[in-house]
């Protein structure tokens, strides 16, 4: 179930895309305090304007558990510091964070599956990571070297990073990764949901092994100590339960624990 969306705005400032969020609208200090009490477990806050943050003053200083904030205007450094005391995640409007266009972003936040789409992200080339923000504002950190060159040899260009296509695409110049692929590889809960949605699902261990091998960009012959024919037989289901030693070798090469293979 999705966290509620709270819109920090005056009613007269709410345009059609904001109205489509079907959010709880809080435009007074009392309304803010009520919303904080009702949604202590967590909520997604949207702030179209930075000047309304003064409504947050007087909130209990102890932050409630899981509040996440999306700001549609620029923030001053002092505002950022103040908001950090109340929100676990803040997705600001600044030049380092690349976001969907406003209309697309709000449409994604309004979707029931918003946590399966990205609305923004930021590349940190020094640390070699990209932080991607989902529609529920949860961050996902992905190493840049996970994005391998495609079969045509096109490489990702981190300097030309964007989130596009209503959150379905992470683009690095001419190189595009599907959001589904990124979430499948890095979020076990998403992977479970995605597998459950498949109309025809290969639930076997062999099927999971094959998917994980493909995800890692490995061929059948990339497993030291196991022949390619043996790996193929396991994937085909000719070997239902590989020997523990074989499992350990497979898992080691795939970079996962043996018991994790079947989750793919």
């Amino acid at each position: 179930m999705n966290d509620p969306v709270i819109l920090l705005a005056h009613r007269q400032d709410i345009d059609t895309p904001l109205r489509a969020l079907h959010a709880t609208i809080v435009g007074t200090r009392d309304a803010v305090h009520r919303a904080c009490s009702e949604h202590r477990r967590g909520a997604v806050w949207i702030a179209p304007r930075a000047d309304l943050f003064r409504l947050l003053l007087g909130r209990p200083s102890t932050p409630t558990r899981d509040q996440r904030l999306l700001v549609l205007e620029g923030l001053r450094e002092q505002q950022y510091a103040f908001l950090r005391t109340m929100f676990r995640v803040i997705v600001p409007m600044d030049k380092e964070v690349r976001r969907l266009p406003r209309e697309e972003l709000l449409e994604v936040v309004a979707m029931p599956n918003r946590d399966e789409l990205f609305v923004a992200g930021a590349v940190d080339e020094d640390d070699g990571v990209v932080t991607l923000y989902r529609g529920n504002l949860e961050p996902l950190v992905v190493p840049l070297d996970w994005f391998k060159p495609s079969g045509t040899g096109v490489r990702p260009d981190p300097a030309r990073f964007e989130v596009t296509d209503f959150g379905h695409t992470v683009r690095f110049g001419d190189y595009e990764a599907s959001t589904h692929a990124i979430l499948y590889a890095h979020d076990p809960k998403y992977r479970t949901r995605a597998k459950a949605r498949l109309l025809e699902q290969d639930k076997s261990f062999g099927g999971a092994l094959r998917r994980l091998r493909i995800l890692k960009g490995l061929s059948l012959s990339d497993f030291p100590g196991i022949s390619d024919k043996s790996v193929a037989r396991i994937e085909k289901g000719d070997v239902e339960k590989p020997h523990a030693g074989t499992m350990a070798k497979l898992a080691k090469r795939l970079g996962v624990k043996p018991e994790e293979i079947s989750t793919y």
Partner: protein, 112 residues
């Protein structure tokens, strides 16, 4: 660079897109049909939808037909982009697995 299938009008103007990404999930080869924030995946092996949701019936029939009519080109594009997960899976010739000889089960004798 992703491979995009050019759709006829009015679908392109309306915002429908069909694409194969540089990075795809490890399931069977497919194309992604997208309209705004919704997306469907169509198998390049069967031409059928991969997922229960969103329902395939929400994609205009003309778009589905267009995908199926261009399957050969899409397969070529997929195989080029994803040589480790080609549409027709190459498998090394399987060894003949000899059948295990049937053995009679020995009855355990009861000791009295």
């Amino acid at each position: 660079m992703p491979h995009e299938l050019l759709l006829p009008e009015p679908w392109t103007s309306q915002g429908w897109k069909v694409k194969i990404f540089d990075v795809e999930g490890p399931e069977e080869p497919h194309v992604t049909v997208r309209f705004r924030a919704r997306a469907w995946r169509v198998s390049l092996r069967s031409g059928n939808f991969l997922d229960r949701e969103p329902p395939g019936r929400d994609v205009p029939e003309e778009i589905v037909s267009n995908v199926r009519d261009n399957l050969a080109a899409l397969v070529t594009a997929w195989d080029t982009l994803h040589p480790s997960n080609v549409v027709k899976s190459p498998e090394p010739e399987a060894e003949e697995v000899p059948e295990k000889p049937k053995t009679k089960k020995r009855k355990k004798s009861r000791q009295t």
